[in-house]
Symmetry: C2
Subunit: 238 residues, 2 copies
Amino acid sequence: MDKLHLDRHISRQFNAELEMLRTQLLEMGGLVEQQVADAVSAIETGDIALAEKVIDTEEKVDDFEIELDEQATLVLARRQPAASDLRLVLAVTKAIRDLERIGDEAQKVAKMAIALADGGANRRGASELRHIGASVQAMMTQGLDAFARFDAEAALKVVEADESVDREYKTAIRELVTYMMEDPREISRVMNVLWALRALERIGDHVRNVCEHVIYLVRGLDIRHISLDEAEAKIKQK
Amino acid sequence: MDKLHLDRHISRQFNAELEMLRTQLLEMGGLVEQQVADAVSAIETGDIALAEKVIDTEEKVDDFEIELDEQATLVLARRQPAASDLRLVLAVTKAIRDLERIGDEAQKVAKMAIALADGGANRRGASELRHIGASVQAMMTQGLDAFARFDAEAALKVVEADESVDREYKTAIRELVTYMMEDPREISRVMNVLWALRALERIGDHVRNVCEHVIYLVRGLDIRHISLDEAEAKIKQK
């Protein structure tokens, strides 16, 4: 079984509070997921209005972070949860920070979308942006889904996807640097592509973090500093 | 007064546990501080052995992170702290993550030090690396010191220093991009300088985070999304 069994509480109020934390985290996640989708779309289509929407959403994400963090602290102070409840609240506080960072990085992608908007769709780097953007967007959706369902196996798949995004990112950077050498007049523009790719790669890292919190929460397993094969074996064996 | 007054505890054991958390965080901080200092020095002197030492230390930092995080969770589960004790434990769990990230970024700087080692000391970008490296190293020392003394005013100074590092970083990137355009043969090497500068700038961001935790801890004030002038006024007025 992959599901997390939260302790049963005598207090219905406590159950409601825990459930609300989880729901609100997912709501914040949905907002950030939309930011990522819009940023990726803006960079592909050159839609400046959409990019500006992403930038404007940032404040809302920040407010969410502060509010959710306070609520989590309140739950800790008031309910003094133990065992899996405590782990849940701590996972939420950690995931909040990652979501806020994802919002930050989406904003960077949106800024680069504005800088790149006049370059046309067939410019160099466009296919890399499209490809890595699509991968990261899929990770985002699957990662939130894994959190919503407390699903460790699904979370591990997202961690694996991040490894492949990291590889694609490195290849893309190498190719773009070579391209800059061939055509130095393009350096300025290609640098903007590089920064956008970099922000996308960071988004992947943060989604991965969220998934690592899910695995820790469900299995009590810290996979950050072990190999993926090892992690997979441990998750499947339980 | 800037100092945090921890609640007095009937349990001496609890006091000891809280104190140990704080001490161990500072120990981890010391290790990471040394990593940053060594990475900055390696990039300046081209000392490959020193850079490799930084890379090897990473594992120790990771172990520290896992262990401290577990200990903090244990304290929460066993002692169920409230008020300022709770805030302290939460600040420690957050600071741990930032310290681990700083270690990661120091490792990136060290890798770039190895890549750049044969370039000679007078290469383009060297003065930017030296300057920003020195600023970030100073921030690191002052930030840990602010945590050790629970000193909100000192922490705010570090936050201010980060603003100036961010400005210097942006100027340096602009200059180096211009330089690449003038001399495309240097692109590959200058890109390594850019990545190293980027990692240093990220270290500054994480030290700033640690200091923001200190301010929150001591003053209950979340300054992340307000202006620095506002933050200063609030910290001084209390």
